[in-house]
């Protein structure tokens, strides 16, 4: 038995992570597949202590890669990092990049991840041509948009609760040069920042905003809008940039390191630094898409108690007050978010339970402080429910089942798919026990 946790390192469950190269064999006795454990909360954890999850990370072989068409088929444990290494020199990239390249294809599908280009590109599920899956009864099946579409849609963003994903076939995106042209600009308050983010999204394929969620009053919600696109042939060399250097956090830091005062100081520095930085430049794609991957095991920065992330999408329309009051709720509860990220989302994808929908997505990192953190998440969720928004299951650890049900009118349809393909509800996780009413 080993102690398993997600990236936030809370909660933890003692369980068996069954590892092996033959995914079909590894998954058969398991009630859940687990990739690199980079979802933040309990999505990759066994439903009860002692249960078996299938560790897919050794099942990482390429089945086929067509350099002419950009169609890649690989085993579920194949990592985004490996994908970039393989495909970028051939002029192909993942059509969607989440905040880290240390994720498996299977994990990307199970969370139906989105990225800085969601407003134009949607989720990763939009590019999945086929999945080879293992059903709850152990049999294998090839599914896709036209083959068992209901099961396919429920599997995109289905948090591993519909079937084990064995292989993924993905259409990659073509690029002219493996470099990113980026621009950054600071804005003094939330309305200006949100307006700038929306304006940027009309011109740029990749946009995101970093927000200072601590400064109160006039400057609440000041921040930096970061935009980017792949370089054209005349703008950058054809050679693939070398891998960037990484550092590792060697041990758990004391909890005051990311306390309120230091986060405030960091926000102040970050804001001022961007004030003076050159606004336009050519950067390494890894620096642009995965800045946090530069610090390996950065989750140790939060110390032994760990941290939770609260990411929600709020269908704001033109009314920014929903976001303002969300931040005010955070500061009222004494929450200090080290990294607060704002992203405008585009249309809903085909994943039955996928997270994004039109509106603004807000992601907060919150150090775990027991009951106070639970109260904060409850308060934030009341906001989400009132605004008609929803939370991102891949980040969540503390949402209550009743609150989740209030956000999720799609839950009944998802349950119906599970009843069809897994009537005994063999496939389940700590998350599904907490939010979907599964037996532990």
């Amino acid at each position: 038995m080993t102690v398993l946790s997600g990236w936030g390192r809370v909660p933890t469950v003692e369980g068996h992570e069954r590892l092996g190269e033959n995914l079909a064999e590894v998954c058969r006795p398991a009630s859940l597949s687990r990739g690199l454990g980079r979802s933040y909360g309990d999505a990759s954890l066994p439903a009860r202590p002692g249960a078996v999850v299938a560790g897919t990370r050794l099942g990482d072989r390429i089945v086929a890669f067509d350099r002419a068409t950009g169609v890649l088929r690989a085993e579920a444990g194949f990592r985004l990092e490996q994908l970039e290494h393989l495909a970028r020199p051939a002029g192909w990239v993942s059509p969607v990049s989440p905040g880290t390249r240390h994720v498996t294809l299977g994990g990307m599908i199970a969370s139906d991840v989105h990225g800085k280009n969601h407003h134009v590109a949607g989720c990763i599920g939009a590019y999945v041509q086929a999945l080879r899956v293992q059903l709850a009864d152990g049999s294998e099946l090839e599914i896709g948009p036209e083959r068992e579409p209901a099961l396919f849609a429920a599997t995109l963003g289905g948090m591993g609760l519909t079937c084990h994903i064995l292989e993924v076939e993905l259409q990659l995106a073509a690029i002219a040069r493996p470099w990113i042209v980026t621009e950054e600009q600071t804005w003094p308050d939330l309305p200006a920042l949100v307006a700038a983010l929306r304006a940027a999204s009309r011109q740029w394929p990749y946009t995101v905003a970093w927000v200072d969620a601590l400064t109160r009053g006039r400057h609440l919600g000041r921040g930096v809008v970061i935009t980017g696109r792949w370089a054209e042939a005349h703008e950058a060399p054809a050679t693939v940039p070398a891998h960037t250097r990484t550092a590792t956090v060697p041990f758990d830091l004391p909890t005051w390191v990311l306390g309120r005062a230091s986060v405030r100081a960091f926000d102040e520095l970050f804001y001022r630094a961007h004030h003076w930085r050159p606004r336009r430049g050519l950067v390494h794609p890894d620096t642009f898409f995965y800045p946090l991957d530069g610090i390996r095991r950065w989750n140790r920065l939060y110390g032994a108690p760990g941290f939770v992330q609260h990411q929600c999408v709020l269908p704001v329309g033109d009314d920014d007050r929903v976001i303002t009051s969300y931040f005010e709720t955070l500061t009222r509860h004494g929450g200090a978010s080290f990294l607060t990220v704002l992203k405008d989302c585009g249309a809903e994808g085909r994943g039955l339970l996928s997270f994004p929908k039109p509106g603004l997505s807000v992601a907060l990192d919150i150090p775990m402080r027991g009951a106070a953190t639970q109260a904060l998440v409850d308060a934030l969720n009341r906001h989400v429910i009132e605004a008609g928004g929803r939370i991102y299951l891949a980040k969540d650890a503390l949402t209550r089942a009743a609150d989740f049900a209030a956000m999720e009118p799609r839950l009944a349809a998802f349950d119906a798919v599970r009843r069809t393909w897994d009537p005994a509800r063999r496939l389940r996780s700590a998350l599904s026990v907490r939010l979907f009413g599964d037996a532990p």
């Binding site: 992570e17 092996g20 190269e21 050794l58 072989r61 390429i62 089945v63 086929a64 890669f65 393989l86």
Partner: protein
């Protein structure tokens, strides 16, 4: 490079094969699971290998070694490098009261490994030399409680590889003895990981450097050379008290 890899569908061997594929080497994979061989061959082809062929070979069936190596020679025309990373692993408690499993571990990890290496060695010497890469383990460097018979088979294999290198290097055959420390692979899954545990990709990069440069002995990750120096120097009285 034209290489024959025995045990490259898994673990460090898999990572090593991928590094070779990425630089355009021609490869033949030997193994006992036909499906795993096919899947790994497709993977290596996609990563850029000049050529990938497979041939069935089981470390528990020494009668098949000659045929497997002959099939490899046919597929590649000729080969200059042979890597043996296949082996079995068992903890001491798994062998208790199980003479069949005990005999199997000794036979596969030592007697049959030597038989395979001798067959490969003869072929390489006949063509004027080459590289013979043998995966042993730091478990063979010092007798400890936890490594048991597995460590003993690896100690014997290390001894064989070093003596072969001393004898054959003047004739153009370089023997590269690999001693991995604790590496996170399927083989070590579920075992408590000590400090300085390695990742297969980084370990394989060091092994490939050793193959290219003909190092007689390589510890990987490199820090394990220092660790094993210290462990070898520990008095037996201390080893008795440390449960490792």
């Amino acid at each position: 490079m034209k290489a024959v890899l025995f045990g490259a569908t898994r673990g460090i061997g898999r990572s090593l094969a991928r590094l070779m594929a990425e630089r355009g080497d021609a490869l033949v994979l030997l193994g006992r699971d036909a499906d795993a061989l096919q899947r790994s061959a497709a993977d290596l082809q996609a990563r850029g290998a000049a050529q990938v062929a497979t041939a069935p070979c089981d470390l528990a069936e020494p009668a098949g070694f000659t045929a497997a190596l002959a099939a490899a020679a046919t597929a590649l025309g000729d080969f200059d490098t042979v890597v043996l990373s296949a082996a079995e692993f068992a903890r001491p408690e798994q062998l208790t009261n199980d003479p069949a499993a005990t005999a199997r571990l000794v036979t596969v990890n030592f007697a049959n490994s030597v038989a395979f290496l001798e067959a490969a060695r003869a072929l390489l010497l006949a063509r004027g030399g080459g590289t013979l890469c043998v995966f042993s383990s730091v478990a063979g460097d010092r007798a400890r409680q936890q490594t048991g018979l597995y460590g003993a088979t690896k100690a014997a294999l290390s001894h064989y590889a070093e003596s072969t290198d001393l004898r054959d290097r003047p004739h153009g055959l370089r023997v590269v003895l690999v001693k991995p420390g604790f590496v996170h692979t399927g083989m070590t899954a579920g075992l408590p990981a000590p400090p300085f545990a390695g990742e297969p990709d980084a370990v394989a990069a060091r092994v490939l450097m050793a193959i290219d440069r003909g190092w007689p002995v390589v510890h990987a990750p490199a820090i394990w050379r220092v660790i094993m120096l210290a462990v070898r120097a520990l008095p037996r009285a201390v080893l008795r008290r440390l449960a490792f």
